[in-house]
């Protein structure tokens, strides 16, 4: 989109720099990044640790724990568990901490709270 024909929506005349500098938006961005960045680093480290172990620590991974089930299989299945767990955690975090504040900002903007000059317009709500 960008330079394409502008979308005919309420956001077309919004001063986004103004919105970007509001405390509310800064808070939303902080909450989003402080969750997704550490989590992304964590699961990537955990995944590569697993790949490295399978690649270079074959003896350790082949240690039998219970019947024919070895450490490699357990760690592999734990990758599934951690993926499901992070998914669930992110969904509940978004629902509680991100969605409400994003919806608030959206309602304010789409109700034309700010004009091009960054002045707050009151009384216009959607």
């Amino acid at each position: 989109m960008g330079n394409d024909a502008p979308t005919p929506d309420a956001a077309a005349s919004v001063d986004f720099k103004q919105v970007q500098s509001t405390k509310q938006f800064q808070e939303l961005r902080k909450r989003h990044r402080s969750f997704v960045f550490p989590m992304a680093v964590a699961f990537l480290l955990w995944y590569f640790a697993y790949v490295l172990l399978a690649d270079y620590a074959v003896g350790f991974m082949s240690t039998k724990v219970w019947g024919n089930i070895n450490i490699g299989l357990i760690l592999g299945l734990l990758q599934f568990v951690s993926t499901f767990a992070i998914t669930g955690w992110y969904v509940s975090y978004s629902n509680r901490r991100l969605d409400p504040i994003a919806a608030e900002i959206r309602h304010e903007i789409e109700g034309h709270e700010f004009d091009k000059e960054g002045n707050k317009i009151s009384g216009v709500t959607k």
């Binding site: 989109m1 919004v14 986004f16 938006f25 789409e110």
Partner: protein, 539 residues
């Protein structure tokens, strides 16, 4: 029900089931075609054609994503890899699944909020339109083409097993039929029709795999340890349970596995046909729900393949699988035949065909949308084309891509196809992911950074593949006679992905031109809040 188990799988018996396979597959085509025609009645606008009117729910789209993602390479390839190489095959599934967290945390919702139809919409949002859009469209087309070629070539080799057609002409004919059907689906149904095909196929595939998994587990008294013991017993090699059977041979092959792992985990969230699916839902929240659904379905499915792979190793045996027409890929169909006889084999074979058909359709509509929307409408017609013309161009592109895929599939038939899928992932991770991440999260990212990163990533991935043992210098190479393999790894990701990230950073800090900070603010606000995001089409 008694568990009737034939003593051994006789490969010659498989041909007798050809008619049954064709019948079940024909039924699938007929049913989906009716649904596609019904779904297409509401196709009026560009948003209808490319993004299904943004009217699918999260769970529906999540199922369709699973349908798009669980290609024949996943189902037949991973089951076969586990049956033959044991634990190393299982590690593919883990990379393919964990990769979805990148899509969930970093890409899906932000992309849904800022784009319209294609990946290039997001990448060129706050940078210079023309150069970035062209680069994004070229890498979209490249990834789709490699992926498409792999699926079409896979169709050819599958046929030798499933339909008992082993001569070259017969296989070419089947590739033509698959291509022609795919063109019809996409022309008539657009994204809506394609999505329904994906949904039906995903449900059939997961249901089929679930039945077989339950059956295998029942044979071993629902004891995973006994099943693993059975695999060891049949193969006579206790190492099938340990890592390293395939990739642990040399230091080079170990490094190759790291490289593959990197491409798998970073490639998924940059596959254009997966990204495009996020536009078929009405909001970012539904995009999130889609990813959550697909993670559960895909994770469940990969757990099934663990049981199926070791089940095939235990009940059919690696030697029988390798000797069968279709080789490694025949593990799942042979296991189906062993368990449920011709009827289950027919069902699983039809599902495998449906899988290829659906994935190919999804790739084709992505490539056509990228050409019509990014190259034709924005670059050739300079934004002056109306939506009707754009859709018309997209439809023509579908036919062209379909014909190219048929020709490429016939040409690539019998080639080493696994590397084409790996190449598609490596190219996506190198050419697309750095620019997606930078443009969403790094304020100082510039047009020059995007161009360097995308062309650098695309170029280095393709050049390294061309200079690798998959193309020359080994018995299994595409050109076994020649040797110009100066790059020792089969997977370029470990070099090309960091290089593309570095080039994106370098190009940006060296760029003297400043980017529009207003556009950056707009993109950031839109991506996180969903302000002004494309709405669902109201019918």
């Amino acid at each position: 029900m008694t568990l009737m188990i034939p003593a051994a799988v006789d490969v010659a018996d498989l041909k007798e089931t050809t008619l049954l396979n064709m019948g079940i597959f024909g039924l699938f085509v007929a049913v989906t075609m009716i649904i596609v025609i019904k779904a297409s009645r509401n196709n009026k606008t560009a948003a209808d054609y490319y993004a299904a009117g943004r009217s699918f729910t999260g769970p529906q789209n999540g199922t369709a994503i699973a349908g798009d993602y669980l290609s024949a390479a996943s189902f037949l390839g991973i089951t076969g890899a586990i049956a033959i190489n044991g634990y190393d095959g299982f590690m593919y599934s883990i990379g393919f699944l964990v990769a979805w967290l990148v899509a969930l945390l970093l890409v899906a919702e932000l992309l849904r909020n800022t784009g319209k139809f294609t990946m290039a919409d997001v990448l060129s949002f706050r940078l210079k339109q023309r150069p970035v859009r062209i680069a994004a469209a070229i890498s979209t087309l490249a990834v789709c083409f490699f992926y498409l070629l792999a699926q079409m070539a896979g169709a050819g080799s599958l046929i030798s097993l499933l339909l008992g057609i082993s001569d070259w002409g017969g296989q070419a004919l089947v590739i033509i039929v698959v291509g022609a059907l795919m063109i019809m689906y996409v022309l008539i149904g657009g994204m809506k029709g394609t999505t329904w095909v994906q949904i039906i196929k995903a449900m059939l595939l997961i249901a089929g795999a679930a039945v077989m998994t339950f059956w295998v587990l029942a044979i071993y008294g629902f004891n995973l340890s006994d099943l693993l013991g059975g695999a060891v017993e049949t193969s006579g090699n206790p190492n099938v349970l340990n890592p390293g059977l395939q990739y642990g041979k040399t230091e080079t092959s170990k490094l190759d596995f790291m490289s593959l792992g990197l491409a798998l985990v970073l490639g998924t969230a940059a596959l254009p046909h997966v990204l495009m699916r996020f536009y078929t839902v009405p909001t970012a929240k539904e995009a999130r729900k889609s990813v959550v659904w697909s993670i559960w379905l895909i994770g469940l499915f990969y757990l099934f393949t663990l049981v199926l792979g070791y089940g095939a190793a235990a009940l059919v045996g690696a030697d029988t699988i390798k000797a069968a027409p279709g080789g490694v890929n025949s593990a799942a169909p042979l296991l189906a035949f062993h368990l449920g006889g011709p009827l289950l084999l027919g069902f699983i074979s039809a599902v495998a065909f449906a899988t290829i058909l659906a994935v190919v359709a999804g790739l084709t509509i992505t490539a056509a949308a990228s050409f019509a929307h990014d190259i034709y409408a924005s670059v050739i017609a300079k934004g002056k084309a109306d939506a009707d013309t754009e859709v018309k161009v997209a439809r023509r592109t579908v036919v062209v891509i379909g014909l190219l895929a048929i020709a490429g599939g016939i040409f690539a038939n019998g080639q080493n196809v696994a590397f084409l899928v790996a190449l598609a992932f490596a190219v996506a991770a190198s050419a697309n992911l750095p620019t997606i991440v930078y443009s969403l999260f790094w304020r100082k990212f510039t047009t020059q950074g995007a161009i360097w990163s995308m062309y650098g990533g695309l170029g280095s991935a393709i050049i390294l593949i061309a200079l690798s043992p998959v193309v020359s210098g080994a018995k299994t190479s595409m050109i076994p006679g020649a040797n110009f393999a100066i790059f020792p790894l089969s997977n370029p990701g470990i070099v090309s992905i960091p290089l593309a990230f570095f080039l994106g950073w370098l190009g940006s800090v060296l760029d003297k031109k400043l980017e529009d900070t207003t556009k950056q603010a707009e993109m950031e606000v839109r991506s996180l809040t969903g302000v002004g995001a494309e709405k669902a089409v109201d019918h």
